[in-house]
Assembly symmetry: C2
Homo-oligomer: 186 residues x 2
């Protein structure tokens, strides 16, 4: 489970609550390579404390609801270091849109072009979000840390560019084929 190790890494940098992990990390800093559901974060924190990887400290606040701040134990540190050294396989790639493209022979040119246009818009939006992450990434950590943070973001940006280039190329190709009157179902 990489979620467990992502949490260990994040809490090593800074002890936090489940709420902060969700909002400051999984929804922003590391959103480009590991999103996590709120319920899953809380459940994982609870089980990790049970495993002795984390300790928690309940802080009663006067103006806000009480919060539970988690920190990494020595066992947690050891577990993280061990995992960071293990080779990881790339994830299995599963893309519903490619299933649609593969069977797009059953759709008209107009229908598949609409899907392509929608994906162009989604990927452009993702790309512009990534450019927003780029700036706050410089506020903490050593120079070497920031190098690796930038490295992850750079892949995210490069992948989005690849998607966009592919989408725009085929948008063009299908439009041209459509005009020259090849069998287009549309």
């Amino acid at each position: 489970m990489s979620l467990k190790h992502a949490i260990l890494g994040l809490l090593t940098i800074q002890p936090m609550t489940g709420y902060d992990l969700k909002h400051l990390a999984f929804d922003s800093t590391i959103a480009h390579f590991w999103r996590a559901d709120q319920a899953q974060i809380y459940r994982t924190l609870d089980s990790m404390e049970g495993e002795g990887l984390l300790t928690s400290d309940l802080r009663i606040q006067s103006e806000r609801p009480s919060k539970r701040v988690y920190a990494v134990t020595e066992a947690g540190q050891a577990e993280l270091l061990d995992w960071l050294r293990q080779p990881q396989s790339p994830p299995v790639y599963r893309e519903p849109f490619l299933v649609q493209v593969f069977f797009a022979g059953m759709l008209t040119d107009a229908e598949i072009l609409a899907h392509i246009q929608a994906h162009i818009e989604v990927h452009r939006a993702t790309l512009s979000q990534y450019h927003d992450i780029a700036i706050p990434a410089h506020d903490d950590g050593t120079e070497r840390d920031r190098l690796f943070w930038g490295m992850t973001l750079e892949l995210g940006i490069a992948l989005e560019h690849t998607y966009l280039a592919w989408l725009e190329k085929w948008q063009q190709t299908i439009r041209e084929r459509s005009l020259t009157g090849d069998d287009s179902l549309g």
Copy 2:
């Protein structure tokens, strides 16, 4: 569930057994965008027949074990067409290796370079498998079908090139930093 719709699409092209779906499709033709577990394929076929999307025909063979050939019903065709027209969101990207890179500040240069090297090898192997798919893709279907099949494969190849370019760039960067004696933990 895209698996269900991938099965509907594949069985529309050619009625098949679960075994053939696994070996001829999910492990080869469409492996670059949708892999599926054998047990999951059989379970899904069974539930889809229960939903009336498929019919099956048990063929007793003399020289091999009996097999069950599945075909798409009219309801299945309608379901597929409907799904193909619905917009799909891109999948959530989750990459364990990027978790390692993000926290690579805790590793030595040698350790992270070893991971990078391993990923370069995996992605080169994937890329060469994709080039093998490219040729058999021309044996069936209309010209328009093959256009879309090629479109899916082209994304797979482009994504692998992006990974490799990124890996090789950072391999170089980290090696150079290591030699110039910046704080490398190694």
